[in-house]
Amino acid sequence: MVRFENVGLRYGMGPEVLRDVTFGIPPHSFQFLTGPSGAGKTTLLRLMFLSLRPTRGLINMFGRDAAKLAPDETASMRRRIGIVFQDFRLLDHLTTYENVALPLRVQEREEAGYRAEVQELLQWVGLGERMHVLPPVLSGGEKQRAAIARALISRPEILLADEPTGNVDPGLARRLMRLFLELHKSGTSVLIATHDIALMDQFDARRLVIHQGRLTVYD
């Protein structure tokens, strides 16, 4: 599904922030990406999300060389990936419903065809009562769930979540984790970037540990 081969990345003329990163994400898998702050977790996610190009090495996404994707192909590829940003990145002038429906709207689908689907997902993540509310009114946990719902609405094959439990209390963090596990059981590959060791210890899952730009995989 995703394959990194000897990937290295540096910003400008600076030192390499990622070095010889080699790993793969198989279909229907669940894994954590962890490491200390500043180790390169977000950078690695951005590479997987095709918003950065590696300085060297090969990234293969869904059987395609990421370096050879045309802009429209990149957009198509991103539709197969769901991402939850650490800072949510909801659009403040759109309601929760509109934010969650956005990935389907950019696919230029008719709203009548997805309205019920979006409402159902909002109910599922516990935001059924908040679908007409603008993000600034939402609590941190609600924003997090809205961001997750937006990542899930287009049924991605892989979900990337950057510190999804970083801004929520432990109870909500556990509920969100259960949500990710449910998603994994339904066939989506899930990668969660976190530095919360206690959270990871609650689940028996594959771990990708990044330290000083190098990645080690613990199956």
């Binding site: 957009a75 991402i83 659009l91 950019v106 019920a116 409402q119 109910q123 007409h132």
Partner: protein, 328 residues
């Protein structure tokens, strides 16, 4: 509407209260819609740009209206002048002027394409000379040229003038024909110059509009950079994002175009009707009377307004594509 359920059960009074407040916020009767513009209105200086587009359209409308008015007036004058021509009989040694006048009139009337010919009598000739020679002039005692006014028929052409000129050369050698070509050429030349100047002003206004829209679009895309990034990340193609911006700017263009074009049309309309309201006599006698515009002139202003709106939309689309390439 699907009945809402929350994973958070109201197991405490405080939580139950929060849940009730959330339900109050939820507007359950309202049908959810996602038709709202993805480009937030507040992120672009929309009102300022509407004003700029309106001013540009107004200037372009005034220019094209003025050009149309000048062309109409010039065409009217040229037509008036071209409908008449003059035969001048110069007095010479032993020339029988009345006989020459009669012969010239007869020749003119015989020429195909000429509707009428009439010799100015002595009184009319004296009236013409009055500004220079004073009143009470006896033209019969002075060697002044005499004129025959020839009115051309609707089928008159270049050949009519040539035939008349040839006949006069043969039979009344002292006559010369003035076909007013000098004046019509000057008028045509003036009208052409006005048109060229108008087109140059239109080009400048167009360039200024394009530049304003380019800067405004860049500013709008920069202001909405975070939104553009999110749209990219959720799989939006550049064409979709550009369309969102283009729709926004087309609306601005049409608003500005309607205001500016409407103002220009109103000005011309007032210019043509105000003299009548003020009882200033014939509008053509006043300075603003020259601002009368025919339907084609109004059509031109309308066309300019639509053109400005389209230029605004197309410019913003091109600029958004360029800016998106920079972002991605």
């Amino acid at each position: 509407m699907i009945e809402a359920t929350s994973p958070q059960q109201p197991d405490t009074p405080l939580r139950a209260l929060r849940l009730r407040l959330r339900r109050a916020d939820a507007h359950p009767d309202e049908h959810p819609r996602s038709g709202r513009s993805i480009v937030p209105r507040a992120s672009v200086t929309a009102n300022a740009l509407v004003a700029v587009v309106a001013i540009m359209t107004f200037l372009a409308g005034i220019t094209i209206g003025s050009v149309a008015a000048v062309r109409t007036v010039a065409a009217d004058w040229t037509s008036d002048i071209a409908r008449e021509t003059t035969i001048e009989i110069k007095p010479g040694d032993g020339l029988d002027v009345p006989a020459a006048l009669s012969r010239a009139v007869a020749l003119a009337r015989q020429t195909p394409g000429i509707a009428d010919a009439r010799a100015l009598d002595e009184r009319e000739t004296a009236d013409l000379l009055e500004p220079w020679l004073g009143s009470g002039l006896d033209v019969s005692n002075l060697p002044v040229p005499r004129l025959v006014v020839v009115t051309l028929g609707p089928d008159a052409g270049r050949q009519t003038i040539a035939d008349l000129r040839a006949s006069l050369a043969n039979e009344v050698p002292s006559a010369s024909l003035d076909d007013h070509r000098q004046w019509t050429e000057r008028l045509s030349s003036t009208a052409r110059t006005v048109v060229v100047i108008g087109l140059a002003i239109l080009a400048l206004v167009g360039a200024a509009t394009v530049l304003c829209v380019v800067f405004a679009t860049r500013a709008a895309v920069d202001a909405a950079r975070g939104i553009v990034e999110v749209l990219h990340f959720i799989g939006a193609r550049d064409t979709f994002i550009a369309r969102e911006f283009q729709h926004h700017f087309l609306t601005i263009g049409f608003k500005g175009g309607a205001i500016g074009g409407g103002a220009a049309m109103a000005l011309f309309f007032l210019g043509s009707t105000l003299p009548g309201w003020l009882a200033a006599g014939d509008p053509a006698d006043t300075l603003i009377g020259a601002m009368r515009l025919d339907p084609r002139g109004y059509g031109g202003i309308l066309g300019v307004a639509v053109l400005v709106a389209l230029v605004t939309a197309i410019t913003s689309r091109v600029t958004v594509f360029r800016t998106l390439r920079g972002i991605s």
